[in-house]
């Protein structure tokens, strides 16, 4: 393994990537994606460190395209012999791909990178003892928040990554970023009953971590569910908490993937120019916004990221395209190549989604609802939502809303509708934008006419 120091060496990765692509034969397009990263994870329980994980990883993925056929290989090491083997395997795999005239690597498109500060030296140099202390302090603050509270786990985690992407078609970029976050899972007990609540805070620098916010969230979310009952079934209005809205927007983002569109799996294919959402709803994917947790200068193919308006005032404007999906759709790449790491090739998808916020806070949104439920958390989005058919069904917990104010807690029920209807049924968008550790930001949202299934 290369000697990786925290912060790594982007120049070294760039030279590895360019040495691979310099070997492209005349009939080949070759892409090398080289990555190094590290993470620290501290878990604290009852005032002591339960575990301390120090992890570093590195790897390379090589994609080769010859006459429309694609081959790919990767290895979780940057040892010279391994890189040699990866290139040979990727070349060997080309023969088994089917010809696809649209298969191609990214080409530089002249869009300039929006420079961002995604690296913090303060974080890179943060001492181990300080990281442990953050987790311990979070546990203390959470326990102190309410006498009924105990802790499941309190965590501090940080990570850094450096990547280099080079292609024989002229892409040559590097990126370097780090970030940190804390999370706490609290349990609230009363009699025989236990409820759970989750709190978090994220930052690019340690001083952006807000321990009080994380502790308060966890305590409030756990204690306010004590005594929860199962609500009656019926059709009501729901108010989504910011964390829930973020999950909802991620699902919508998936349906706007250019790849889903060109392969006939998107609900919204052939709907550009149609009203697919409530008037007043504007959905933007903008990784150039430094406030976004997933802000980045370049996408997974090495193209500059850009601000893309996907839905404007309820009307569908465009999809999120990678080089491949754009070529097939006859569209322009939008800087939306996304890749999970060196072990895979890029797909097309949203990177940093957000609704343009409204002017009312959550309390004012709740006041608009006569009979409904504030949805604090949802479960089973992976099992009960089908992004192809649009069917939406999720387990939920939260608080009843009666006459515009919060009433008793409820749990063990589902909320159901379809993604298509929910977009059109959005009645109000909150001003309380929150940049969550997700590819979508959250804010409170009122959605009319959703089926609650309980007793």
């Amino acid at each position: 393994m290369t000697d990786v120091r925290a912060g790594g060496d982007a120049d070294h990765l760039a030279s590895l990537a360019s040495s691979v692509i310099s070997r492209a034969r005349p009939d080949e397009q070759v892409e090398a994606y080289v990555a190094q990263g590290g993470e620290t994870e501290v878990r604290v329980y009852k005032g002591d460190v339960e575990h301390f994980v120090s992890a570093q990883s590195e790897g390379i993925g090589i994609r080769v395209i010859v006459d429309g056929r694609t081959g790919f290989a990767y290895a979780g090491t940057l040892a010279a012999d391994a890189i040699e083997e990866v290139l040979a395997e990727a070349r060997d795999n080309v023969a088994y791909g089917t010809v696809d005239d649209h298969a191609a690597l990214a080409m530089p498109d002249g869009v300039a990178v929006t420079p961002q500060s995604l690296w913090s030296d303060d974080l890179a140099e943060l001492a181990t003892e300080d990281k442990i202390e953050l987790a311990k302090e979070l546990e203390r603050l959470t326990v102190a928040g309410d006498p009924r509270i105990r802790i499941d786990d309190a965590n501090y985690a940080d990570g850094w990554s450096i990547t280099a992407t080079a292609t024989s078609t002229g892409v040559d970029t590097t990126s370097r970023e780090n970030g940190c976050y804390v999370t706490v899972s609290a349990l609230a007990d009363e009699g025989d009953e236990t409820q759970s609540g989750y709190g978090y805070s994220v930052g690019r620098r340690p001083d952006e971590i807000d321990l009080d916010k994380a502790a308060t969230l966890a305590v409030e979310r756990a204690t306010r569910l004590l005594g929860a009952t199962k609500p009656p079934s019926g059709r009501v209005d729901i108010v989504l908490d910011p964390m829930v809205t973020a999950s909802f927007l991620s699902l919508i983002g998936g349906t706007l993937s250019g790849e889903a569109v060109v392969k006939g799996r998107s609900l919204f294919r052939e709907r550009i120019g149609d009203q697919i959402a409530a008037p007043g709803m504007t959905l933007v994917d903008d990784p150039t916004n430094p406030e976004a947790y997933t802000a980045s200068e370049t996408d997974g193919e090495g193209l500059a990221t850009r601000r893309n308006v996907l839905i404007a005032d309820g009307t569908l404007q465009q999809f999120c395209h990678s080089t491949y999906s754009a070529r097939r759709a006859g569209a322009t790449p939008t800087g939306n190549g996304v890749r999970g790491g060196f072990a895979g090739t890029p797909g097309a998808g949203a990177i940093a989604l957000s609704l343009v916020p409204g002017h009312l806070d959550q309390e004012a949104l709740i006041a608009m609802v006569d009979d409904g439920v504030l949805i604090q958390s949802v479960t089973g989005l992976h099992s009960g939502v089908n992004p192809v058919s649009g069917d939406f069904s999720a387990g939920a917990s939260g608080l009843l809303v009666k006459g515009g104010t919060l009433a008793g807690p409820v749990r063990e029920f589902t909320i159901a509708s379809t993604l298509q209807r929910m977009l059109l049924d959005v009645a109000a968008i909150g001003s309380d934008i929150d940049w969550l550790p997700s590819n979508a930001a959250g804010m409170s949202l009122v959605i009319r006419d959703v089926t609650v299934s309980g007793t």
């Binding site: 120090s54 199962k230 799996r265 099992s383 069904s393 999720a394 159901a416 379809t418």
Partner: protein, 461 residues
């Protein structure tokens, strides 16, 4: 993979600063995957992952570090990082390593010895069969994957174990289009073993099943909402037990009082019809392992017998604290991850009821032919799981297909509400269980069964 004398040096150095326990987990894994989508082989991928994770425990604290470099120097460095993170405990000396346990490899036909063209041919066969199932099928995606992993686990208790784990996986997903919009169908197959698994199954049959699921749902009506009896077909419902109680029986949740099953051993926690087993030794099932990822042989563990909770599942860490043996349930996603308590193959034994009678005696309710994934909050016991193929039961007969949705219930309540258990049994589709960000392969199974009341999460009144 690593010479025994190097293993001994690394373990000794990990204890040199006063820790109580140290462990090396090393793996060398090669994998192949091929994706077919939209009528084409998209790409063939070859992967290589190799490295070691070193865990050091001192008192209540665990330190962990890993490296992709298996040389003695790199391992010693990682051991130093992990030992520093763990700090000082009561101090222990390494027990001499025992003789290595015998490797066991279930694979008969090593996937690496099969031409890539034969793997790709399976995909084309599935694509063709799915499209032939009906003109409604507008899109097909299929995937093939194999992996073969050599593992070495050694610890300062004297454990030295090696294993070779081979797995093959195949999946098909389809999209059907009609006047009602688009619907999807899915079918998958996975085995702990080699390419010979494809002698047991015809991927064209799998593809036809996946296609039919999508086509059937084009005529589906909105799923009802509210509480009602739910009958679950054999094989597919194991995920119910995985979520309703499996996670809650993991000793790490128990130790923190974050499970509704804490302190309940010896108590009736389920209908007396229910006997629940977790068995990592089961044939070539997807969750089968000869040794767990802490070097302990896997076992058949009875968790619930005739409704009474008999035991939890244990890994090394939790077993050490309770001065008992691990149940062989310590698992991890890779050398880059810490092990924790995980399930293997979790299933409910068959009962005495005729499956046809179970439906015939259900006046009105829902029949679930295929479940999707699920999740649980172990602290409250509330869990959800998705229906990907379901039908209405009206007057004791299966009638119309239903759209997709989640079911929601509370673990202890649902276990008590199981009122009929079929005399049939099947294991279900290969699953990936996620916990704390790590995914591991698991199997599930059960006979046809009925839950007297579950909340069905549809949109219809």
């Amino acid at each position: 993979m690593i010479d025994t004398d190097v293993v001994e040096r690394v373990l000794a150095s990990a204890l040199a600063h006063g820790a109580d326990f140290a462990e090396i987990y090393a793996e060398d894994k090669r994998s192949t995957s091929a994706g077919y989508d939209d009528g084409r082989v998209e790409q063939l991928t070859s992967g290589r992952d190799r490295g070691a994770g070193i865990r050091v425990i001192a008192g209540e604290r665990t330190g962990f570090a890993h490296t992709a470099d298996l040389t003695a120097d790199a391992l010693l460095h990682a051991a130093g990082v992990a030992a520093a993170a763990a700090g000082k405990g009561s101090g222990a000396r390494a027990t001499a390593l025992g003789p290595p346990s015998a490797s066991s490899d279930r694979a008969v036909v090593i996937p690496d010895g099969i031409g890539k063209d034969r793997k790709v041919a399976l995909l084309a066969r599935a694509d063709e069969a799915a499209r032939a199932a009906g003109s409604e099928i507008v899109q097909v995606s299929a995937g093939y994957g194999d992996s073969r992993k050599h593992v070495l686990v050694a610890n300062t208790d004297g454990v030295l174990a090696t294993d070779t784990q081979t797995r093959v996986l195949f999946r098909v997903s389809t999209v059907a289009s009609g006047d009602s919009g688009m619907q999807t169908g899915y079918e998958s197959f996975g085995r702990t073993g080699g390419f010979e698994a494809f002698d047991q199954v015809d991927v064209a049959d799998m593809a036809a099943t996946a296609a039919q699921r999508a086509i059937t749902k084009l005529g589906a009506r909105p799923t009802p909402s509210g509480s009602m009896p739910v009958v679950i077909a054999k094989g597919t419902g194991g995920v119910l037990f995985h979520e309703a109680c499996g996670h809650g029986l993991e000793a790490d949740h128990i130790a923190k009082g974050a499970s509704v099953y804490a302190g309940k051993v010896g108590e009736l926690v389920a209908s007396p019809l229910v006997t629940l087993v977790d068995d990592g030794t089961m044939g070539d099932e997807w969750g089968t392992l000869a040794i767990d990822d802490e070097g302990n042989p896997t076992r058949r563990n009875v968790l619930i017998k005739d409704g009474v909770l008999t035991d939890y599942m244990w890994d090394l860490l939790r077993a050490r604290k309770d001065a008992r043996r691990s149940s062989g349930n310590g698992r991890r996603q890779s050398y880059r991850h810490l092990p924790m308590v995980r399930m293997t193959n979790t299933f409910v034994l068959a009962g005495n009821d005729d499956p046809d009678d179970i439906i015939a005696t259900t006046a009105n309710g829902v029949y679930v032919k295929m479940l999707g994934g699920g999740s649980v909050n172990t602290a409250t016991g509330d869990f959800v799981f998705g229906m990907t193929e379901a039908y209405l039961i009206e007057n004791g007969r299966i009638t119309e297909p239903l759209r997709e949705g989640n079911l929601i219930g509370n673990g202890p309540q649902v276990l008590r509400d199981i009122d009929m258990l079929g005399d049939d049994f099947a294991m279900g589709s290969p699953g990936t269980c996620g916990k704390d960000g790590q995914g591991v392969p698991v199997g599930t199974g059960q006979p046809t069964l009925r839950v007297a009341a579950l909340t069905v999460g549809g949109t219809a009144a």
